[in-house]
Symmetry: C2
Subunit: 328 residues, 2 copies
């Protein structure tokens, strides 16, 4: 299993990507890591690398500020684009990047290419839930206006992912909506509902935004706009509450002392509510596996993304999705 890592992508690259790559190569002898990036920079950093790690030179880098489509089209030798090309050409089975999200989605579409039968690839991060199972939410990517058929494809892809990669048999698939009754929603969700009912998945119906964190489903289907509102509202609310707690807890010496006792619990809560901590997000519906690491990924996060990619490859995720989509 060859896994290409965009060595130059991410806030802490290439330090983080090299660290993660080294750790992953050492831990799993059955994979081969291809570090894609500037050889001059990378070579001195991997002196003690195991045999299953090698460098593939790429002279350019896509920055966080680059305009995605333009950057992918023009920087043909950018580390991200080259990693994508390795996947398209079968030289790697998967690629991982913590770089510019828009550019990675564009690389997926234009370089790796869509899977046959898929109209819109979807970005599928995990959102933490109270029961610890988490929920795979898709699409949280650049597809702001989805059609009902897109939501149905998201449902199928997410369902296969949870089954294959997380080992959840018959994952519960929910449709993000404003009420639990079948006739609730906007034009999109009302039209998607019967399509989801007809899919070979465990569709549990509509799920309200307030029930997502309590683990109402394993896969949450939504268009990119609604998904963004959901996730950013979660993020904003958690942030606002922490900021109030911080202020309140330092109001008096008595409060400060009490807060110090509870600090481990508060830190645990903060980690739990930070969905960025919860691994890489697969970009589903491409002809190869693409995993997006968060921009602030450190070495541990990169290694985790490799673990995720390895599990997905072992379980033939892409082939399984292709089979389900083609209905064979």
């Amino acid at each position: 299993m060859k896994i290409a890592i965009d060595a130059m992508g991410g806030d802490h690259a290439p330090q983080s990507t090299v660290e993660g790559a080294l750790a992953a190569a050492k831990e799993w002898g059955d994979i081969e890591i291809i570090l894609v990036g500037d050889e001059q920079v990378l070579k001195p950093m991997v002196q003690d690398a195991p045999a299953n790690l090698r460098i593939h030179h790429a002279s350019e880098v896509i920055d966080a500020e680059d305009e995605p489509v333009k950057a992918v089209r023009r920087k043909k030798d950018a580390s991200m684009v080259v990693a994508g090309r390795l996947v398209r050409e079968g030289e790697a089975a998967a690629m991982i990047s913590a770089g510019n999200t828009g550019a990675l989605m564009t690389t997926g579409l234009l370089v790796v290419g869509r899977m046959e039968g898929i109209e819109r690839p979807a970005l599928a991060p995990m959102i933490p839930t109270l029961d610890g199972r988490g929920v795979l939410a898709l699409d949280l990517g650049a597809n702001m206006d989805a059609k009902p058929e897109h939501l149905a494809q998201y449902a199928l892809m997410g369902s296969v992912y949870r089954d294959k990669v997380h080992g959840i048999a018959k994952p519960r698939v929910g449709l993000l909506n404003v009420g639990t009754e079948a006739m609730k929603g906007n034009e999109l969700t009302k039209a998607a509902f019967p399509l989801l009912e007809a899919m070979p998945i465990n569709f549990v119906g509509n799920v309200e935004a307030r029930d997502v964190l309590t683990g109402a489903c394993d896969v949450l289907v939504c268009d990119g706009f609604a998904g963004n509102i959901l996730l950013k509202s979660l993020e904003g609310t958690a942030g606002a509450m922490f900021s109030i707690l911080k202020k309140e807890f330092s109001k008096s010496l008595k409060n400060k002392l009490a807060a110090a006792v509870l600090m481990p619990s508060l830190r645990g809560l903060k980690t739990m509510m930070d969905y960025k901590e919860h691994g890489g997000a697969p970009l589903l519906g491409l002809s190869g596996l693409v995993v997006k690491g968060h921009g602030s990924s450190d070495g541990g996060a990169i290694k985790n993304a490799v673990r995720q990619a390895r599990t997905a490859l072992q379980s033939s995720l892409t082939e399984s999705i292709a089979r389900e989509i083609s209905g064979k």
Copy 2:
């Protein structure tokens, strides 16, 4: 100023509505309260009522479980419907109800009637913010699929409301979106953006869901679907965090003691995060004033809704909105 109160609407009605009505009538001599509901039930409860409170009999009641449109059409003598009729016929300038939300929106549309030039009335609750100003969000009602022109009208109505009722000059109006740049969003928000720029309001551009609670704007414009996702995600996240804190804080005796010290702060946070606590929500764009109280309203909440209606009437809210909408 005559204000009709649906005496039978709400989880704690008629106890709560009568209590609130009595308190309001006593406090404000310049208003006249019309309690609409079953005279047999209400009469014994208002024995010591001041002269500016009277009962208007209505024999039927719309329940929380009633199908809204059907109930409003069939129960012609329901307290909510009768209160709406008093507004339409000019016998009351405003009505307040803590009953079935869908039925109240239907009563607004079918009984009170739309304001000329308004296509979709909007429900506009306040969402609490860290800076204490709060944000008026609309539409949070039954209009799941809005057109760009609807969003523009929401913006104008919300802006007038914050100015007239809350005394905020040039309120900052934001468009709920997935990014702050003008070209971000789905088809709806991208089409609405230039319309909002052209309105006679203080449009501050797109506002992301994560910035709502930090007070990025005074009026937040969105379609009913996105608004519901935003609000329910806020509610769900706050609820999840409290439930984790509760568990963590009772883990050991040490934690319990520390948590006891911080309890007042935690309670304050809970109240702040509970948007239901933050007053009644006006239904804007009708030919008269309609204020929706939360279903769980107690006497204090009903009195607050009366205060809100009184301020709106004193500032000629409805006339001001009509003037802005007609462009005169």
